[in-house]
Amino acid sequence: MRWLIHSVRAALRCRGYKPQPLSWLSASRWIKQFDKKDQALAERLLSNVIYLSESTTREVLLEQNAILMKRLKEAGLPAKNLIYVSVHEAGSSSPVMLNLLRDGAFLEKLGCKLIDGRDTLNLVKAMNELGEGALIYVDDFVGSGNQFCTERDFISQNFVGTFSEFMLAPSICEEAFAKMDERGIQAFAGHKHVKAERPLHPESDVFDEKDRLRVAAICKGIDRFGLGYKGLATMVVLYRNAPNTVPVMLRGNVNQKPYFGIFPRTIDLPIPSG
């Protein structure tokens, strides 16, 4: 009956996962698809998932933003000198987080500027107009930080004036902290996702070596990039989607066949027929 306890616990803890609702039944089906001897490992992996619900995400974002705004105000930067920037294309999490923040923190009413990071010309115009201020990038999760830093480095060629830079996100991996720090971008995150709390990461001892290697082997058997993008093996799952850095065991295959995930990514779900 252990699987039942784990399933019910997961269903209660991870309520509101948007791409595919999670029930105790779907959780138990997910556990049972693995060999009997591996089911306990799957349950343990599931219990290590760090789930950020919609309310937690909102809470953390608003809280971190309040801390940041206070600090910037004390440094002499009023709200009208703050430019909030979404960092990825429309439809991704970043614009959603920015909208959530805009409404929750009354950013527009306070006079902050909100800009799509890919709209470089408007960003340059806003920076030119202000002369000094802060650029606050907003996202829901930062994994390796590679994509963000590459895009930021490209657009930074256009920067005008004196602007300090910040990243605001509910959860950021320690790998990204280092990359952003090199660029002087200060991260404001509710949760720093360290390697030690990722059971499948080689630098973690959440699982003993034998168990870690066994689960990693299952993941790699499902997909050769089984531990997620760049082998980050992250365990943070957000209500909107699971990052592409989570182990494939949790995500499932593309189209959810032959393995189905407990936290499938939106792009992994099959298109409904009809």
Binding site: T120, L121, G133, D153, I155, Q157, N158, F163, S164, F166
Partner: protein
């Protein structure tokens, strides 16, 4: 900092705060815009050796942006890099005390001072995208109220040609400029596309009524579509169009044909640049090469002043060679008689 014209009232200077700090490398943000090739490895090694022995003697110049915990480097990137390398090699300061960088802290540069500083860096930087340069130049022009190339050159260190290229980019509407700022390199339009396309657009809109009716924006979009569809395989190929036009200037029928082809090039999405214009450029080039070959041949022969030779064998060989040349030239001259279209003659 770039040397700014002290008499120019609009150009602000860097303002020192009078503070000297001793910073660790973790408190400093390296400049991501610094030119790698400015750092001569031998010189850097010498500097590192010196710093390893004596520490950093000359303070670097830094500023702290509001709200920023770290200091940004304005001057002293090489000293900073040496200290970072020494730390990485485990060669800190004496008696285990970490190396620090003495730093003169200045006020954050104003927008224009910062821009001019960036220009001074980018004059030495490879791979600096042209569009950001153009946008920065636009701000300098607007803020300082000058569009004069000489004055801009003095302020920014850009050459006349670079300024002209930037100005060409700025002639395009923002929606096209934005295409060169696309973060995705696969969909980004290279800035040279606009520079090479500009004379073609000007020519097309000046000479084609349908394209004038279409409008400059739509005509430009058509070129972008062609480029994305690989019908313009290289932005350099725009030059073939202009070359075709220039080569045909003294030849009205060909000129008319070129202009019709230019119009077709815009309106027919399938027409590739080389397919459309090679015939004008290649044929002209062949004729011009043949003409210069004739001139060269004559000049060379005249130089030898060869009216006689005492060697019988050589005389025979030379006469045979001249006869061959004469025969080929006659056949060629005959072929070029009458119509300029050999196929029409056959008909």
């Amino acid at each position: 900092m770039p040397t700014l014209k002290p008499t120019h009232p609009a150009v602000p200077q860097i303002v020192p705060t009078g503070k000297l700090r001793h910073l660790t490398t973790r408190e400093v943000i390296p400049s991501t815009n610094n030119p790698r090739h400015l750092f001569d490895p031998d010189q850097l090694l010498e500097l590192k050796k010196n710093i390893g022995e004596h520490g950093v003697l000359v303070p670097i110049t830094v500023y702290q942006a509001k709200g920023q915990a770290k200091f940004s480097i304005l001057d002293g990137e090489r000293r900073f890099r040496c200290v970072v390398e020494l730390e990485e090699e485990g060669r800190g300061g004496k008696d285990g005390v970490p190396l620090t960088l003495p730093a003169n802290v200045v006020e954050p540069p104003t927008k224009i001072a910062g821009l001019l500083y960036m220009f001074s860096i980018h004059n030495y930087r490879e791979g600096w995208e042209l569009m950001p340069t153009a946008l920065s130049l636009k701000i300098v022009m607007e803020d300082l109220g000058t569009t004069d190339n000489k004055a801009l050159g003095k302020l920014t260190g850009l050459s006349d040609a670079q300024i002209e290229r930037c100005k060409k980019l700025l002639k395009f509407p923002e929606k096209f400029q934005e295409m060169s700022l696309d973060v995705n390199p696969k969909t980004r339009i290279p800035p040279n596309f606009w520079i090479e396309a500009l004379p073609v657009l000007d020519l097309a809109l000046e000479t084609s009524e349908p394209l004038r009716k279409l409008g400059r924006g739509r005509a430009t979009e058509k070129l972008v579509d062609k480029y994305r569809d690989k019908k313009i395989k290289s932005v350099i190929h725009f030059r073939r169009i202009m070359e075709s036009y220039e080569l045909s200037e003294d030849d009205p029928p060909t000129k008319a044909k070129v202009l019709r082809r230019v119009e077709e090039f815009f309106l027919n999405p399938k027409l590739e640049t080389r397919d459309g214009f090679d015939e004008f450029v290649v044929e002209k080039k062949r004729v011009q090469s043949a003409l210069s070959a004739c001139e060269g041949f004559l000049l060379q022969l005249q130089k030898f002043k060869l009216t006689y030779t005492t060697n019988e064998d050589e005389r025979r060989n030379l006469r045979k060679a001249l006869h061959d040349v004469q025969a080929y030239c006659e056949s060629l001259e005959h072929a070029l008689e009458g119509s300029d279209d050999p196929e029409a003659q056959q008909d």
